[in-house]
Structure formats: structure tokens, C-alpha cells
Amino acid sequence: MRKLIVLGWRRLSSNWAAIVPGLAIVAGLLPIDASALPLFARQTGQNCLSCHAGGQFPELTAYGRKFKLTGYTMGERATIPLAVMGVASASKVASTAGSTDVGADFPHDGQFEFTTASLLCCGKITDNIGSFIQWTWDRFDHQNDAGKWVSKSHIDQVDLRYADRSIAPTHDLIFGASLNNNPGVADVWNTHNSAFTPVPTYVPVGNPAGNAGGPFVDVPAAPTDQSLGQHSAGLTGYLFWNDFLYAEVGGYRSTEKPFTVLGDTRVSGFDSFQRLKGINPYWRLALNHDWGANSAMIGIHGMSAETYLDSADTGSPTAKFRDIGIDGQYQYILDPHVLTAMFSYTHEKQSYNDALWNLSNANFTGTFANSSNTLDYLRAKVTYIYQAKYGVSLAHTSIRGSADAVLYGNPTAVPDSRLWAPEIFWTPVQNVRVGLQYFMWDKYLGAKSNYDGNGRNAKDNNTLFVYVWAAY
């Protein structure tokens, strides 16, 4: 059940040594002048804070939502539609208690290193078509058999859109379609999708747990609709009517031919329950209201998915996941103040093929103890930014699930965890951000103390995370 254990684990191979010179060449080709900013800013000629609330990522302003909904087509087509971004970071875990090999269990702990870089190909293609395509290189992608860290590069987020808009005094209808590789990436409120959230907060930077790569600190579980990034290819249609009603519906399938280009590895390299069976429906409905300097949204979302136990074997037993959730956002934007508050709650019902749990089944796999399980996943975050430079945020994640001694190997047999993550950050110029975040685990795998039976406590997983993010 690794899919439920690890978020955003990447596998595709490519040598980072080939990527860095490539990024350098791209950077050299870009014009160095006042408009030498991230790609969408070059296209529109506008400051990042026009579209991003307080200049932060990924939260969008009402204007930014329109930019995305209309297919990234507003402005002037860039001569070279490429941009780069990178993150240097360090994470320091509170305690390595319980580890017999600290170097292996908490690799790079406390070391400040350049961790990830992305090449972005984005923006207006025609009057109706635009893209957001991100290719990412992870320096510490995984460890090889000798225990050495190996870097990889892979396709990251993809959102290729066709959009049109019919607007008149009587109506305003934006409609379009998105070909993407992550359920929810097409959403413009970014409240519930995992597209830019490798950690269960709304932080646009590397995952301290992922950077550490160890088994101790990681997200214990997440709903399927937030775990299919880069493993799924989806086509969704959407509309936004009179700035009030947003509706999106579509289907996702595995990144098999002809959609292999959207996947970060071959399907045979997927983890358990990452390969989708057939077309899996995804839907989203939201109501929006703007008044004065305020904007509010309340929405619901859902997905039904079926995946294989063995991603390399379409004859292997499957599990079904039914997600339904509610999410919302409130925004206040009036210089010099920007406030964004958002939440997302998802309830997932998992039901399994008989062979996965039934001892008497001839093909019993021993994957689950129960025939079905539930998972409840809540995320919330409040961010305040002053003068588009100085920011604070507080994020919360709460996970609850039914007990399954096989699925969750810990003594409590539940994934229940609670995380608080306060953060301060500074944006000295609009394409550089420096931040300090502290991940505080109030509960981990069902217990505050001795969650693993070996004396390790939830707070031992607390992690200090510092980062420098830059884009060009």
C-alpha cells in the first residue's frame, strides 16, 4: 500500500548532469531586462501579485483565476516560452530516536542543499490554447542498491488547455477543456488538489520528508484523488458562469499509450494501487462570490477510482476508492494587506477485491485486514502577507482512518495524524522567496507517544524546514 504511504515519490530516470547545463542555456537565452521575470509575467507584462495573492504561490487572485480559466492566453505570446525555477532547502528533524542507522534513516538531515529545479514551458499558444507544463529534476530522487542518492528528472505538472469566453451585458461564460496529469490541477482555487503541494500544506517548495527520504517522517495517508499526480492522464471540461458557478467534469486513466508523455515513469514502475483501471470520473462544483476587496468560494469535489494491486499486472486484484469532499476559500486583497484562508475536507471509502483481504480466497494476497476502509483528510491554511513581501502562514492537516492492522503496520493500526505547520517567509523581489517553516506533529499514526512500539513519539518527527525559492 505504498501509494497511500508516500506522496510524490518519483522514479523516472535521467541524469541531472544533463539537466543543469540545459537550464543554464535556457537562462542565457532569456532576455535580461526589466521584464525578465517568470514566464506568465513576461507574457502579461504584469507583476506576479496581479495573479498570485500577495505574490505568493500557488494561491490565485480573482484575476489570476480568470487568467488560468481562459487558458493562459491573455497577453502577448512569449518569443521563448521557457522559464526555470529552483529550490534550495534544508530540513532538520527534532529527534532521530529509534533509528539504528541515522545516516540512512535521516539522510541529509540538517544540510542546506540545492534540491530541485524545474523547467517550465508555459503560456499562450493561440488565442484559445495555452499551457502550463513543468519538467522537474530532483537531486535526491531515490537511493540505489548501494545506498547512494540518485537524481532524476521527470514530467511534473501538465495542464494543456483550450478555452473560450462568451461575454456580453447579459452573461459571462468561460468554458474550456484541460488535458492534464493530476486530478484537480485544472482547479483555479488550488484548495484541494495536490498539484503544487508535495507536503500536506499549501507550500510550493520541496517536501522536508521527501528530502529526507526516510521512513520516519512522511504523510501517512492521502485520498486517491490527491495521489494520482503524474500517474494519470485526464481530460476535463469546465465552465465558469457569471463569476458565480464553476463546474468541471472529466475522466482520468493511467498514463499508458498514447499518454505516456504525461507520466513520470512507465506504468510498470508504478507503486501498488497507482495504476488506474479504465476511465475514472472526477468532478468539481463551486460557487464563487466577489464583493469589495473580498472573494469567497465554497465547493464540493469527488472522484471514483479503481486501481490495480500490481501495477505491472492488469490481472491483479483491484481496489476501489470513492472520494467526496468539500472545500472553500476566503480572500481579502487590498494593498498592503492580503489574507487567504482555505480548507479542504475529503472523505474516502475504499473497498477491495475479495482476494485482497479474504483469507479463504484461493488468490488471497494479504494486502488488507478489512474488506473496506475509510479515510478522512482535512487540510486548512491561513496566510497573511504584508506589502507583498512579508508573510506568515499556519497550515493544518488532520488524517483519520479506520483501523486495519495489515494496511497500517503500526501498533494502533490507524493512520490518524495531526500536523500544524507555522511559517514565516520573505519575498525580497517577486521571483525570490525565502521561508522558514516548522512541521509539528501533534499525533502520528494514531498516537502521541510510542507510535511505533519502539518508543518514538509524534513530536520526534517535528521538522524545521528552511528554503530559498527562485524563478526566472
Partner: protein
């Protein structure tokens, strides 16, 4: 199959190439101003120029020559107040003179609607500044240039119904910066207090008869 997919995307691209009547291209001189107003400007200023957010000024019924001058000043970077360069330098950078004129005509002929209730400031004190000025601070009455109904005249913008927050911020720009050169407003505002500005802006947002 991959080539079929790419071909389908390319075909979609060709279909979408020319859509002048719904284009959001700001560098195409063939896009009509009315189309740009609807597809781009409306995102912030509203289709009828009555913007909702106070970040963005209301343009409905604005003086055409004032809009033309501002767009030209954004395009040439002569107007450099933060809200101006953050949003409008990019929007205006490739607009043609004809498109600027057309946009000014479009918003000039829209009907100004009533703005939201004012949250702070003294309407009476604001009305006094508007009608009588503040002689001891060398501030002329607003209505002397902007008209008795704050409807503006030529290069002097319409102020009636404008967002209070926008007006206060612009008065500070006039007073404290060189971001909007070429107007008499620096001299007029140089002794005004923030309270004066809030009061007169409150009166203008709630302008009688709006």
C-alpha cells in the same frame, strides 16, 4: 498513437489560431477595442466599467481624453505609481493609438453605477473639501476642475462614484511621489492630511445622485 495525439493537439491549435472576436491577445493591432475591453479589461474593471474590487478604478463614464492620457502614460512608463506599473504597464505596452482611443470611447460611454456603502470617513467634511477646498492648506475645491457633479472634464477625470480606497492611494501618490507627473495635483495635495483625503474620497465614492 502519440503522433495521433500530437496531430489532434496541432489541429486544435489551428482551429484556435484566429479568433479575433474573442481574442485576449494584447499585441495584435487587429483586435477591436471592444473585444479587448470584454476579454481583458473586464477582468478587473468590469464589463461595464463598474469594478467591484477597490484595487481597480471604476472607468464607467470616465472622460475619454483622461483614459487616453493614462493609457499613453502607462505605455510610456511616465505613470509609475505601484498599481499602475504592477498591472497596467504590461497591459498597455503594445496597444496601438487606435486601440487606446477605442478603449477610452468604450468605457466613456458606459453608465456609472452606484458604488458600495462607504466604510469610513466623514461625508460632511469631504463635501466641504469638494465644494470649498481647504484654503489654509492651499487646496482648491475639487469641483473647480472636476465639475460640480464630479463628472470630470477633458483631462480632469470623473471622480463621482470612484472607489474611496483607490482615491486615497492616488492622493498619496500625488502628494508623496513623482509617480504621476504633469498634473496640478501635487501642489493641491501637498498639505492635505490623510484624514482630509479619506473624507473627500468617502464623499466622492458616495457622491449624491450616484
Amino acid at each position: 498513437m502519440r503522433w495521433i495525439l500530437l496531430a489532434a493537439i496541432a489541429a486544435l491549435g489551428l482551429i484556435g489560431c484566429a479568433n479575433l472576436e474573442r481574442s485576449r491577445d494584447l499585441a495584435n493591432p487587429n483586435v477591436r477595442p471592444e473585444v479587448t475591453a470584454a476579454q481583458v479589461c473586464s477582468n478587473c474593471h468590469g464589463l461595464d466599467g463598474n469594478s467591484v474590487s477597490p484595487i481597480f478604478p471604476r472607468l464607467a463614464g470616465q472622460q475619454e481624453s483622461y483614459i487616453v492620457a493614462q493609457l499613453e502614460n502607462f505605455r510610456s512608463h511616465q505613470r509609475s505609481d505601484p498599481a499602475g506599473y504592477e498591472y497596467m504597464w504590461g497591459i498597455s505596452r503594445s496597444l496601438t493609438d487606435a486601440q487606446i482611443k477605442g478603449l477610452a470611447e468604450y468605457f466613456g460611454r458606459q453608465t456609472a453605477g452606484k458604488n458600495a456603502a462607504v466604510a469610513g470617513g466623514s461625508l460632511d467634511a469631504g463635501r466641504k473639501i469638494f465644494e470649498q477646498g481647504v484654503p489654509e492648506k492651499e487646496t482648491a475645491p475639487c469641483m473647480a476642475c472636476h465639475g460640480a457633479n464630479a463628472e470630470g472634464l477633458g483631462a480632469f477625470p470623473r471622480l463621482a462614484g470612484q472607489h474611496q480606497d483607490y482615491l486615497v492611494k492616488q492622493l498619496h501618490v500625488f502628494q508623496e511621489t513623482e509617480g504621476r507627473p504633469g498634473t496640478p495635483m501635487k501642489q493641491i495635495t501637498h498639505l492635505l492630511t490623510n484624514e482630509d483625503m479619506v473624507n473627500v474620497a468617502a464623499y466622492l465614492q458616495a457622491f449624491p445622485g450616484q
